[in-house]
């Protein structure tokens, strides 16, 4: 009988010891997504044996190519914060695919940026020169095999010199040769629009406030335009030069998921409506479409 009790006690002790040694997925996941500030100044973050230093890009923005571990939320805390309260006590941060930049949204709705130590000088140099004379496309790449499990990755693609020159030539169109938006087709989904952003030659920084749009007017004659994003200028569509149309067509073919289809007429009229202008007085022919 005593032997049975001893064996039972030993078995229970083994079970208890096993329980203490095993972890759980939830805790492991929380730990994997908790990062730490190196000190109380919050100017540096440790992540995977690297240190990320704060860098303020001013009016510019760093380009994110993709979100590393897109479904995960990372929280940066001080070192003494336990993992179970890291979400409440921590600052939310996103990390790009190359793990070179972190983006943290603060209380004043302005992001704080952290750049990995080895990329810091290059990023700083890009900010200081700030020559934004290139364009890039934020492209959502859908998987070919329709595997819905594969993440839809965003890839930032720097436009080549030919395409850049096409856009620059279009934007150089004199004001009297530009086309008014009323020339565009009237249907619901008549324009195939590709949104481009300006950047430096190394695609490190961009200016969020400045966008360029490639427009293919499927609603009327299939013409190609470049729009400089100026919302309140009626005559702001820059026609693509005849010699450049094939280059633009090839671009559209190369990135089939890049174009969004909608009627850009609504965009202008929506803005005029929201500005409170009286249609009958200033723009008598405009109508707000719902």
């Amino acid at each position: 009988m005593k032997k049975i009790f001893r064996i039972t006690a030993l078995l229970l002790a083994v079970i208890m010891l096993t329980m203490t040694l095993c972890s759980c997925n939830y805790l492991d996941s929380l730990r994997a997504h908790q990062l730490f500030y190196t000190d109380d100044t919050k100017r540096e973050i440790e992540f995977e044996d690297s240190v990320y230093k704060i860098l303020n890009p001013g009016r510019l923005t760093f380009i994110f190519t993709d979100l590393y571990d897109i479904d995960a939320s990372y929280f940066v805390t001080k070192k003494d914060v336990p993992v179970l309260v890291s979400h409440q006590e921590g600052d939310y941060v996103s990390i790009n695919n190359e793990k070179t930049i972190m983006n943290m949204w603060g209380l004043e709705d302005k992001p704080t940026w952290y750049v990995r130590e080895d990329c810091y000088e290059k990023a700083k140099a890009a900010l200081e020169t700030a020559k934004l004379d290139h364009y890039f496309l934020g492209y959502l790449d859908y998987p070919e095999d329709d595997d819905l499990l594969s993440p839809i990755r965003q890839e930032n693609i720097l436009l080549d010199d030919d395409m850049t020159a096409v856009i620059d030539r279009a934007l150089a169109t004199p004001a009297n040769e530009r086309v008014e938006y009323k020339k565009l087709g009237k249907g619901d989904y008549d324009q195939a629009i590709i949104h481009l952003s300006i950047c430096d030659k190394d695609m490190i920084v961009t200016d969020d406030g400045k966008s360029i749009f490639l427009i293919r007017d499927d609603g009327s004659n299939g013409a190609y335009y470049v729009w400089d994003g100026n919302e309140y200028d009626e005559y702001s569509l820059c026609p693509v030069k005849e010699d450049d149309i094939e280059t633009v067509k090839a671009f559209y073919r190369a990135y089939p998921h890049a174009a969004e289809s909608y009627n850009i007429r609504y965009h202008w009229e929506d803005n005029y409506y929201n500005r409170g202008y009286e249609d009958e007085v200033i723009y008598p022919e405009r109508t707000y479409y719902l």
């Binding site: 329980m19 997925n25 996941s29 914060v81 993992v83 179970l84 819905l148």
Partner: protein, 287 residues
């Protein structure tokens, strides 16, 4: 003599409650053992993920999750049963000890009715505390390992933050909370004893009358409470002033809240106690 009363009560409580508490801890242990079989990808929640053919992963994660959730539900039910059993056993011990055949023996002892009531209350409070400790122990078992350590770390961290924020007031809050909990528990038991005492005034259906008294008290309290709330909230100026005052004196308001709760429960607990004592002294009706 009171010590002997408590000793016999303890024996009854232990006989009835200890198995329930051991079963609770056993269920917690089973749940912890189930967690040992957690698959590596059990955090994947996307049903679509499973629907389109990842059946191997689906089956192990789904089976685990089904068993785990079932065991958690069972654990929660066990906690509720344990706590309910404590209250039920307390009531039953009081009723049997005071108002049934056992009452003939109890009331011949050289003990006053007040001492009887306090002896029963003390036993009930001790075993309520014991049941709460059993629940705490079961929680330790169910989170044994890394999670346990992290929970304690998080708790002490938050307490440190609270003390940093409120200073000495936090200590007072804790003290007031403990006093409120004890006074509240006494209030509940005194109320139940009062209902049973009133119930035994009739010849037949004593337990039914006790239930009736309990619900009657509840309904009356709800009506009075509703009238007070409506009267106060209809006075917008008063509400605005109260709101302003609370915003400026949050700490004082919290202390007032705790203290008024303590006073309220103490006062009504005393009333119930006096009713029970009066019935036991003057209106005892042992059949």
């Amino acid at each position: 003599m009171v010590k002997k009363l408590i000793k016999y009560d303890f024996q009854s409580f232990i006989r009835l409650l200890l198995p329930v508490q051991l079963i609770l801890i056993g269920i917690a242990a089973i749940n912890r053992i189930i967690q040992l079989f957690e698959p590596a990808n059990s955090n994947v929640d996307d049903l679509f993920y499973y629907a389109i053919g990842h059946t191997g992963i689906q089956s192990s994660a789904t089976v685990y999750r089904t068993i785990f959730v079932s065991s958690i539900v069972l654990y929660v039910i066990a906690i509720i049963v344990c706590l309910l059993m404590t209250v039920i056993v307390s009531i039953v011990r009081f009723y049997q000890g005071m108002y049934t055949n056992e009452g003939y023996l109890s009331h011949t002892l050289p003990v006053t009715p007040a001492q009887h009531i306090f002896a029963k209350l003390l036993s009930s409070l001790i075993f309520t505390l014991g049941s709460l400790f059993a629940v705490f122990l079961s929680f330790m078992v169910i989170t044994m390992g890394d999670m346990n350590i992290e929970i304690f770390k998080a708790f002490f961290y938050m307490m440190g933050k609270a003390f940093g924020l409120y200073g000495a007031h936090m200590g007072l809050y804790i003290l007031e909370f403990i006093i409120l909990a004890v006074v509240g528990a006494c209030f509940i038991y005194f109320k139940l004893y009062c209902c049973i005492s009133v119930g035994q005034l009739v010849q037949k259906k004593k337990v039914l009358l006790a239930f009736g008294v309990f619900f009657g008290i509840y309904v009356v309290k709800q009506i009075i409470g509703t009238i007070i709330i409506i009267t106060v909230t209809m006075n917008y100026e008063l509400m605005a002033e109260i709101g302003d005052w609370i915003a400026k004196h949050g700490t004082a308001f919290t202390h007032i809240l705790f203290c008024s709760g303590i006073v309220f429960y103490a006062l009504f607990g005393l009333i119930y106690f006096l009713i029970s004592k009066h019935i036991m002294s003057k209106k005892l009706n042992l059949s």
